[in-house]
């Protein structure tokens, strides 16, 4: 059981790290603002989500687990909002050119 949980943690955190890496590569390589935002939101949503998922079996109490999930949800909310705001500014700048 212990081994299975450890394996689960390793796989989930590695998958999360992969999404962060992919998101960063996308941020650096993609051609325009909207595609870069797309890459970045993958890192926030999936990357952090998978890392939180991987850390869940390792916490001592339910309260800490709830806190971890809350952190992920708040990052989801703020990430989505900021992406919308940046995308809007970028669209307005493009149309005014």
């Amino acid at each position: 059981m212990r081994l299975a949980l450890d394996l689960f943690t390793i796989v989930a955190v590695l998958a999360g790290a992969f999404f962060f890496l992919a998101g960063t590569v996308g941020l650096l390589r993609f051609p325009d603002t909207l595609t870069r935002l797309h890459a970045l939101s993958k890192a926030d949503n999936l990357g952090l989500g998978l890392i939180v998922l991987g850390l869940l079996p390792r916490v001592d109490s339910t309260l800490v687990a709830v806190k971890l999930v809350c952190v992920w949800l708040l990052v989801l909310l703020s990430g989505a909002t900021v992406a919308q705001l940046i995308a809007r500014v970028s669209r307005d700048q493009d149309s005014s050119r």
């Binding site: 809350c70 708040l74 909310l77 703020s78 909002t81 919308q84 705001l85 809007r88």
Partner: protein, 315 residues
């Protein structure tokens, strides 16, 4: 062990790279963004050094609040920046700046190189005396009990900063509302965000303040989160900034320092010195001060971010 050492070295390298970038980059906006990233990375370094209290404050104040303040400054300097670029400093000025920086860097490097090994520490003494304060977090004990005078003066400096910003108001806006009035689409993304997030933010800010008695937290990180929620609501156009002549606003700004000084003066009567706590009531008094402080810090940081009064109050 070697793995974590490699991560530490990589982190130091990254910090140095960002620091060089901040100095080398030509436009102020880029430098400010890099400075915010630098602050977040420094916060991670503090966590690595097991100073979570410092990390929280660094992330909230050093990166978040200072970053926002400098972003505002960079936006205002944009006009001056163009003029400054058109007229680069002369060779003599550059040379003396380089000599000055090199001297300071060398002096700091030498000081760090000759640190005593092991470094002198008061940590055991701080933990030994913690029983008397009723607290579980040695950092809070240092801030609120052993070195309370420093913490008090820190808050007074913050009040002075707010007074300084308020005195930048033009005559017609004296005592008026700070900043611009933000007009947004009431059904837009930002107002939605500013309606959903503050309930969580208020709970988190209060929690950071409350938990500081026994775990990492504090009035500064807590107050910063509260201030962020307030600024978000103002920027989303959901509520206007209060006029700075408003009496309730001034009362909240003064609540923390006044509570601190009040408890300090009372200490001369009910205990044996200024800022001394009577035995058995230390924790109660410290938490009372912290609550007042958190509210004051939130109001002061919010007002610092809102800027100088620009709009006269309607008669």
């Amino acid at each position: 062990m070697s793995w974590s050492f490699a991560v530490d070295i990589a982190m130091v390298g990254l910090l140095l790279a960002i620091a060089v970038f901040i100095i080398a980059v030509r436009d102020a906006f880029g430098a400010v963004i890099a400075f915010a990233a630098y602050g977040l990375l420094v916060a991670v370094v503090w966590v690595r050094l097991q100073a979570v209290d410092v990390a929280l404050t660094e992330a909230a104040i050093g990166s978040g609040l200072t970053g926002l303040l400098m972003l505002g400054a960079a936006a205002r300097l944009r006009v001056a920046e163009r003029a400054a670029k058109a007229e680069p400093p002369g060779g003599w000025l550059r040379a003396s700046a380089a000599v000055l920086s090199a001297t300071v860097a060398t002096a700091l490097g030498t000081a760090v190189w000759f640190f005593a090994e092991p470094p002198p520490t008061l940590a055991p003494a701080a933990v030994a005396g913690i029983e008397a304060t009723g607290l579980g977090n040695a950092v809070t004990a240092v801030l609120m009990a052993y070195r309370a005078t420093d913490t008090l003066l820190e808050k007074v400096v913050l009040v002075l900063a707010v007074v300084g910003v308020w005195s930048l108001a033009p005559d017609r806006a004296w005592g008026g509302r700070p900043g611009t009035l933000y007009r947004t689409d009431p059904d837009g993304v930002l107002p939605f965000f500013a309606r959903v997030l503050p309930p969580f933010g208020v709970v988190i800010g209060a929690y950071l303040m409350w938990t500081a008695a026994d775990d990492p937290g504090g009035a500064f990180p807590g107050g910063t989160v509260l201030a962020a929620m307030w600024v978000l609501v103002m920027m989303a156009g959901l509520a206007d900034s209060p006029p700075v002549r408003s009496v309730p606003l001034r009362l909240v700004v003064l609540a923390g320092p006044v509570a601190f000084v009040g408890v300090g003066l009372a200490g001369m009567v009910i205990a044996d010195a200024f800022l001394a706590y009577p035995v058995g009531y230390a924790k109660l008094l410290i938490v009372t001060i912290e609550i007042a402080m958190t509210l004051s810090i939130a109001a002061m940081l919010g007002m610092l971010l809102a800027g100088a009064p620009q709009r006269p109050v309607d008669p």
